[in-house]
């Protein structure tokens, strides 16, 4: 067990890594553009840039690294950056949310580190591809860390206060990058791994699909915009984990495609919601209505983004959902039933929020005449993300050809 084997922080540049890196960098870039218009204070901007860069770098690190220890370091950097982002404006409720974020992520990361340690002791290496002996205790502990980072039940709850507090500009990055770290680690370490105990992936798939269902149902019955985004993220991320856990071509490629689809759509929705909050000064859907009259452009863009989350053709979300469900049914038909139930919840909550926000029956609750119009930059970022969700949906086979090696 030489120091060299521990400190071998080499990278693996494969098609998955490149695909994930490109996705993370693009999402980060969009966040940067959005922040130009929304984070104007100099001091805030500095802190924002630090958080943004740390999250992007940690995302790239996890996507490209082959060393578990290095991945753990990136993991903790991401935890730190997200924590700082949640307490961005230092308000008491943000500090409280930050504590939840930090404690949950830190404790579960500690648990994960023990698992990584056990794997190291058994295999004598941190290099993922060289790990052959897989101990059930180790993978259970690592999975707890993965679940917490990627907000899978029962360690998902930190995301709700985090989303409620985080500035929209970083929220998009949290949704599009930081929460994917657990998924990427799961993919690198466990997906299609023949050394795993036989039922491990089945159990993870069950947890994932149930998590997706429960979060989808919760999203349907919430009234706060950011809670919706949080529950929706939990639900969608769990759907991706389902894809990775069932493995094979459809599960894995579908999940990869889903990461892109979700990152584009959810960060777009985050920016859209942030814009609506800025325009109306409200965070509760009961107090917002008729946004169509304020911004038809935002209405169309949000419709496209919601459609991608729901999985309507020709958005990219359609194909990713289709492939994950094919993978799930191949493994176990019941996964398919629960996954479709979750997809139906997604349709219902998207429909409810979209229509209550942009149409609604009580147009008097927002002063439409004096309401500020969304800025060009804010609308532009949402537009680009919506447009990409559409274009990449039409060209999905090109992406699939790349990530699936077809």
């Amino acid at each position: 067990m030489s120091l060299n084997s521990i400190m071998d922080f080499g990278f693996v540049i494969d098609r998955y890594g490149i695909f994930l890196t490109a996705t993370f960098v693009f999402i980060g870039f969009m966040s940067f553009i959005y922040a130009l218009a929304t984070i104007t204070h100099k001091g805030h901007r500095l802190e924002y840039y630090i958080s943004l860069v740390l999250i992007i770098l940690s995302g790239i690190g996890v996507a490209l690294s082959r060393n578990l220890l290095f991945i753990f370091i990136c993991w903790e950097i991401a935890t730190f950056a997200v924590w700082r982002a949640v307490v961005f404006y230092r308000k008491p409720d943000q500090v409280s949310s930050g504590n939840v974020v930090f404690i949950t992520n830190f404790v579960t990361a500690g648990i994960m580190l023990i698992g990584i340690g056990i794997l190291y002791l058994q295999n004598g290496t941190f290099i993922i591809t060289e790990i052959e002996k897989i101990d059930i205790t180790a993978i259970t502990l690592i999975t707890i860390g993965i679940f917490a980072k990627s907000v899978i039940l029962p360690v998902h709850f930190w995301l709700i206060p985090a989303y409620a507090s985080i500035p929209s500009a970083i929220g998009g990055v949290l949704a599009g990058i930081a929460e994917n770290l657990g998924l990427v680690l799961f993919f690198r370490l466990f997906s299609n791994n023949s050394n795993l105990p036989p039922d491990f992936c089945n159990i993870v798939a069950w947890i994932a699909v149930v998590s997706s269902l429960i979060a989808g149902g919760s999203a349907y019955r919430t009234n706060r915009l950011r809670y919706l985004l949080a529950y929706s993220t939990i639900s969608q991320i769990a759907f991706i984990l389902l894809g990775f856990s069932v493995g094979d071509f459809f599960g894995t490629s579908g999940a990869m495609l889903y990461i892109l689809a979700h990152a584009l759509a959810k960060s777009g929705l985050f920016y859209g919601v942030g814009t609506i909050e800025d325009v109306t000064g409200e965070a509760n859907i009961k107090n917002i209505s008729c946004m169509l009259r304020i911004s038809p452009v935002l209405t169309v863009n949000m419709a496209l983004l919601f459609s991608s989350i729901v999985g309507f053709f020709p958005m990219i979300g359609f194909f990713s959902k289709l492939m994950v469900v094919i993978g799930a049914v191949q493994k176990n038909i019941y996964f398919g039933f629960v996954a479709i139930a979750s997809a139906i919840f997604t349709l219902l909550y998207s429909d409810r929020f979209y229509h209550e926000l942009f149409y609604g029956e009580h147009c008097d609750i927002v002063d439409l005449k004096t309401a500020r119009k969304p800025g060009v930059v804010e609308s532009g970022v949402v537009f680009i993300l919506a447009l990409l969700s559409l274009i990449l949906g039409i060209l999905f086979y090109e992406i699939l050809g790349y990530i699936g090696g077809l």
Binding site: N99, I214, Y231, I326, V329, I333, D351
Partner: protein, 640 residues
């Protein structure tokens, strides 16, 4: 037989792309909107006709792409080419009508784009030879349905939302069914040979999931409620285009495909029985609702639902004659229902209302519209010799043939015939309400609609007659029977449409003679009194909506109607309610449980922190003592 040449490939792409491309160009170039739309739809009709003529009695299949091992395949057989042709005919006629009727309507600018998108999607569904490719086109129609329902009145968003939810949910359900077949069979191409038997739980569940998609698209109960909701707000041409024609064609087309080209429905009596029960319930419940409606579009929309029952019932019999009858009824229904919607739309266009109690006496002002409406009304009511009679007659015969398998055939037959009687009753009320009786003064200046609106309606009315009188020679021999080549269709009983027509014409002529030489020449006008007071014409006007108030007021039915109006039979409400309940359970119980766990954990950490904080005395000697204690413990541990 004509050799299949490369032009067929080109023509298939044309019918897929032309409608949406021309719609898009029309949307972008406002000045050429109508021209582009018209050009696109005429060309689509032309190429559909060419495909129809070139591929007679041939099957044609080729792969357009293979992605991830899924063979995206185009498949054309007799069933495809016939539906394809009628898709484009209905689209063209409705476009012609809407060019005038949709002027200055809210959302007019995107209307033709949605028409084009819908037609392209519908053609794609019909041309797909692979279930996943079919799903893609099917899903595309959700978008266009939602968009087109938003066009019209500003209040239409609720109807669009309801349609989006019901059709969207059914699409997901259908997606699962398709995936199960794909995983079970190894590919998703059809026709499947040999047909899949409905003898395992997995395949039965797959069939039921696909059935949900077909029934939601066709608008059968209980997935129908978006149609009456849409009728309240959508323009007549929209109602004619989607729920009345294209969605019916696609839903029933898909039902036939899954029942006889993928699965072998004939071998599963329980599933057939389920279909027939759905069909019978749909016929009766929807027509009962239609009977008491007081608004024209809503009344028609309930009939659009009721008639699906005949199709489902016919196809569900599993008897060749019944299946052919169901398919024939599909096309007949589309013809007369589009005609009815367009006629009612013409009335609305001129009078600005569809409330039956505000209308009346328009027959003399809009004679052509009345003619078309009456023809279509008789056709839907199953009056011979119109087309609706013939297809219903075939369905009845299919049900009678069922007597060898089940005694329940009597119930299905009664339901079907009773439904037909109620349909006639309902349309008598509507004909009276729109065209007969006293005309309100405000409509004195009403006149017939323009050429562009009446022409499509007239063509459809004439088709109702032609498809009835020449049923065997044209639609059955050239469209329906070739579409079901695996069936040996043996009509029972005797029916000669020509003879019946001659007898009916003679009867009508005798009636006219009696009328002219009897009452018509000696009218006896009288004033209307109530309690000795002479009523003005407007007050004395007998309107149609209350024709069947007595039915509505029957004790048991009154409650049922009340529940129906309040949405007690609305699947949409239950879906939202039940899933909403689960949502509350998930959010407030399960989530809160985990939050509570976290809070307890955080509380323990905080308590430990408080306990250990006692040790922080702030005095140096105390800390030195702890250091020594720690060092001793460490040494002891190392010594061990």
């Amino acid at each position: 037989m004509h050799e299949i040449g490369p032009e067929i490939y080109r023509e298939i792409y044309y019918v897929l792309l032309l409608p949406v491309m021309c719609g898009l160009f029309g949307f972008l170039i406002k000045r050429l909107r109508n021209e582009m739309g018209f050009l696109g739809f005429v060309l689509t009709f032309f190429y559909s006709l060419r495909i129809f003529l070139l591929l007679q009695n041939q099957t044609f299949s080729y792969s357009i792409a293979s992605i991830a091992g899924i063979d995206f395949r185009i498949y054309v057989d007799n069933l495809t080419r016939f539906i394809l042709l009628f898709n484009s005919i209905f689209a063209l006629l409705i476009l012609l009508y809407s060019v005038i009727s949709m002027r200055k309507i809210h959302g007019e600018s995107v209307y033709q784009l949605y028409l084009g998108l819908t037609l392209s999607g519908a053609n794609g569904v019909v041309l797909s030879g692979n279930l996943i490719l079919l799903l893609i086109f099917w899903n595309m129609l959700v978008f266009s349905l939602y968009g087109i329902l938003l066009v019209g009145k500003k209040e239409s968003v609720n109807a669009a939302r309801k349609a989006l939810t019901i059709v969207g949910v059914s699409d997901f359900v259908m997606m699962l069914g398709i995936i199960i077949i794909y995983v079970s069979v190894g590919d998703a191409n059809f026709p499947v040979s040999p047909l899949l038997q409905l003898n395992t739980g997995v395949l039965i569940s797959a069939y039921i999931l696909l059935l949900v998609g077909a029934l939601a698209k066709a608008g059968a109960m209980p997935l129908h409620t978006w149609i009456p909701e849409s009728a309240k707000v959508a323009p007549a041409s929209t109602m004619a285009f989607i729920p009345a024609s294209l969605d019916k064609l696609l839903g029933i087309y898909f039902l036939v495909r899954i029942s006889y080209y993928i699965f072998d429905l004939t071998q599963s009596m329980p599933i057939r029985m389920t279909l027939m029960v759905i069909g019978a319930i749909t016929i009766i419940f929807a027509v009962m609702m239609a009977l008491v409606q007081k608004e024209a579009m809503r009344l028609l929309s309930f009939h659009a639902v009721s008639q699906v029952g005949y199709m489902v019932l016919g196809i569900g019999t599993g008897i060749p004659l019944g299946i052919a009858g169901g398919l024939f009824h599909m096309i007949n229904h589309a013809i007369y229902k589009v005609c009815l919607f367009l006629s009612a739309g013409s009335v609305e266009y001129r009078t600005k209302t569809t409330e039956l109690d505000k209308l009346g006496g328009l027959g003399s002002k809009m004679p052509l519209t009345m003619f078309c409406f009456i023809i279509a009304a008789f056709a839907i009511s199953g009056v011979p010799p119109f087309n609706g009679f013939y297809s219903k007659w075939m369905v009845y015969q299919g049900i009678i043939e069922l007597n060898k398998e089940t005694n329940l055939w009597v119930i299905f037959l009664i339901a079907a015939m009773f439904g037909s009687v109620l349909t006639l009753a309902s349309f008598l009320k509507m004909i009276h309400s729109l065209f007969l009786g006293e005309r309100p003064k405000e409509f004195d200046k009403v006149r017939e609609v323009r050429f562009g609106m009446i022409t499509p309606t007239l063509i459809l009315a004439l088709l109702c007659i032609a498809f009835g009188i020449f049923a065997e020679q044209i639609p059955l021999a050239r469209l329906i029977y070739p579409s079901l080549p695996f069936l040996k269709i043996m009509p029972i009983g005797f029916w000669s449409a020509g003879l019946a027509t001659i007898l009916i014409i003679i009867g009508i002529l005798i009636g006219i003679i009696v009328f002219l030489f009897g009452t018509a020449l000696k009218p006896r006008p009288s004033k209307v009194f109530v309690g000795g007071e002479v009523l003005e014409t407007e007050e004395a006007r007998i309107t149609g909506p209350n024709f069947y108030s007595s039915v509505h007021n029957i004790d048991m039915l009154e409650k049922t109607y009340q529940f129906g109006e309040e949405g007690a039979f609305d699947f949409y409400n239950y879906l939202r309610g039940i899933l909403g309940g689960f949502g509350v359970l998930f959010r407030d119980v399960i989530n809160q449980f985990f939050v509570l766990l976290y809070s307890s954990f955080a509380g323990v950490i905080a308590a430990l922190g408080r306990i250990f904080s006692v040790l922080h005395s702030g005095e140096l000697p105390g800390y030195i003592g702890w250091i020594f204690l720690g060092a001793i413990i460490l040494l002891l541990l190392l010594a061990l």
